[in-house]
């Protein structure tokens, strides 16, 4: 199958409609999955370990006699790390160090505050870590050690004491690089369970698994449905859509580089989206030629071909200013500004999960080891949400310490408004603290 990548032109009639049709993505909700997940959640909530054991043995084709069989020791994690080929181990360690360094900066930014007013009233905000979080790591084919680093390290930097990782091991097969990543990232417990049953165990707790406060990490449709359903009982991170890359190029980058950057997103899965915006028609043709030249060399060429054909686009724009405006509409997960003097264009971008500036900043570097998180808002949610970060493992509490003098002035204001809203107990609660007691109003 030859790749057929769509070409659009922003000056043509109906361009905006074409673009929006291309971007539209709605995760199908599958009734069969919803029903199955609902049943599993209720069952684990009620029967605890017994249910988790049964589902895990059945779905992962293992035959554990008890939950204890699913726990991996810290020694086993360390052994997996020690046994990696040195180049791989060093790469994992370098990536972890850099991810940690970036997230330490995030932590420094959020310290809370407190201030004292002239009458002695103290107001402030305190920032504290979550107690315990669960990290879901997919098993089987799509096992990504980099995800372990990206999810666990921000939690550890935030100060979360218990980081419980669940990872299914279908047919009992453990991914050694994933276990090694857990050892590096400071995961405190690894349990080889997965699916909706693992999400339920983390959310509700069982005899052997303590309930967590938040569950993060990617998973299949069952895991996503389960996370949606337990939201409220625990916190969850975003429910990620297909991955996306948007490349803004002024035509100065080697077209092979841009083609490969588009591939690097398209190879994730057939629903992934890779789009180029460029004002130079000749350059777009060069990128297209590079796509045709390089695609046959890629081991995952089938996935790339389907993704580029179904959801990709090469878009000719009037100029880089217009490219920036379109980029704000798209609000991409990954935005490469592959241009000379990229900062001038970056200054015009309001919405993007992560911005990669200049021709050397390929998205792949950010996916693995630059330091910023690779868990980013997809499907235009960068309009209102942020990369996964230390702040996702912290929460704030307001502090109000009203002085006796403060209660005199604030009490009158509060009472006035409370009576206005018909909440008389609120009003009286404020008025009782006044030195000269007013009579209650009706």
């Amino acid at each position: 199958m030859a790749v057929q990548i769509r070409k659009l032109d922003s000056t043509h009639d109906g361009f905006t409609q074409q673009l929006h049709a291309l971007l539209a993505f709605e995760a199908a909700t599958d009734d069969a999955i919803e029903t199955a997940v609902s049943k599993i959640l209720a069952d684990v909530k009620q029967r605890g370990d017994a249910a988790v054991l049964e589902y895990t043995n059945r779905f992962d084709r293992v035959s554990a006699g008890s939950m204890a069989a699913f726990d991996l020791s810290q020694e086993e994690l360390q052994a997996a790390l020690d046994a990696l080929p040195p180049a791989q181990r060093e790469a994992l360690q370098t990536a972890a160090e850099r991810v940690r360094a970036f997230h330490e900066r995030q932590k420094q930014e959020l310290n809370g505050f407190s201030y004292t007013e002239p009458d002695g009233t103290v107001l402030g905000q305190r920032v504290t870590p979550l107690d315990r979080v669960g990290i879901y790591v997919p098993g089987g084919k799509a096992a990504y050690p980099s995800s372990v680093l990206m999810n666990a390290i921000p939690a550890q930097v935030a100060g979360v004491k218990d980081i419980v990782m669940v990872v299914p091991t279908p047919d009992g097969v453990k991914n050694q690089m994933v276990l090694a990543a857990a050892a590096i990232a400071g995961v405190t417990r690894v349990i080889t369970i997965g699916g909706a049953q693992a999400v339920a165990a983390l959310a509700y707790g069982t005899e052997t698994i303590p309930a967590v406060d938040k569950i993060v990490g990617p998973g299949n449709a069952y895991v996503a449905a389960a996370k949606r359903r337990v939201f409220g009982t625990v916190g969850i991170d975003m429910i990620a859509g297909p991955s996306e890359i948007l490349v803004l190029c002024d035509g100065t980058t080697d077209p092979d580089w841009v083609a490969m950057d588009l591939f690097s997103q398209a190879e994730h899965d057939e629903l992934a989206q890779a789009i180029l915006l460029c004002p130079d028609a000749d350059y777009i043709a060069q990128v297209e030629a590079s796509i045709h030249k390089l695609l046959p060399t890629m081991p995952r060429h089938e996935t790339i071909t389907t993704s580029l054909s179904d959801r990709g686009a090469l878009i000719k724009v009037r100029d880089m200013e217009e490219a920036c405006a379109i980029a704000n509409d798209i609000a991409a997960e990954h935005l490469e500004i592959s241009a000379e003097h990229p900062q001038q264009w970056a200054d015009r971008i309001r919405h993007a999960g992560a911005m990669f500036l200049g021709q050397f900043s390929s998205e792949a570097l950010g996916d693995y080891c630059c330091g910023p998180n690779h868990v980013l808002p997809t499907s235009r949610t960068a309009r209102f949400s942020s990369p996964l970060g230390v702040y996702d493992f912290q929460k704030r509490s307001s502090i109000l310490h009203v002085s006796e003098a403060g209660a005199q002035t604030l009490g009158k204001v509060a009472a006035e408004l409370a009576y206005g809203e018909g909440l008389q107990a609120h009003a009286r609660s404020a008025e009782l603290r006044l030195l000269s007691q007013p009579k209650p109003r009706p």
Copy 2:
């Protein structure tokens, strides 16, 4: 009906189970509501204004000829403010000023950051406001101008340019204090629509209402169901459960004050929860006596009686240390530490939406005018979530500007890990930036 408030003792067998049973709250999902909301959302998404107009005329018993009839002018908002009784207007203005001052502090804390590595690679994080938000304000009986301030001011402080408020006006009745609050809080547009149809209009946009990026604010079961369903298309704030107050008292506060503080939460609705923790049995008896004495004086005594009887408790604890441990388990929306030297106990609290320290800090002051937000995490979600704040109207983008030198070191690390994960296009994308090109691996 006399109030029958439950008394528990932490030293008794089964206390923890009793406490957890008392705290348990699951919002019932009503199939009829879900079905109705699903239909309304789909209808507004497809038919836009025509559907919003029909639903609004029907549900709010009005007879508007076009959507334009639902728009309130800034002049009408200002007129509502000007027409308020002076004491009420001044109270509203004072509250708004204080809320703004507190939230300005929040804004100062989050500025983003950027740092340059020795090889010239720049990494950072940028913080930007959302473009446009929708604020849902309930109409009818439970119309709370304070909610307008608490939802709109953080958005305005964050730098959100368009703040669109929707508020239903059943039978065409407008709450003047709510309109006045909109004038003060910097709301940019007020539309008198409500229900699931208003949520749909804000989420999807119509011919006359632009789609927003996030919807915040309280509403009834239809509004809550609609918000849950549009989440992902837009951001939403939390789905609030019933309001709660937890009072930790060392027995030194006037028992009438504590009784009234419990009432001030119980009067919200019959599902609200008010709990006292105290190590002093005699003092608990005094608070109980105050409850019986003061309850008949309260206009909303029926609601208070039901709430205290069904969901309230006076709990005798061993000591204040134990009270703090129990408070961390409860993770209350509002936590009053009504004690001498309250800071020593506050230091032990890890989970609470807002902490009110000392006997003068009644929750009512925080509800209206201290400055911190009154939109707080309920139902134990303070374990993982935060008060509504400026940060809810901002989002972060990662910045990665890799230098040519940086691409040489980072490229090798990224390629190693990408090959390890079987993502060869990622690896090649990194390797293409290396000056000495390695051969692709399989």
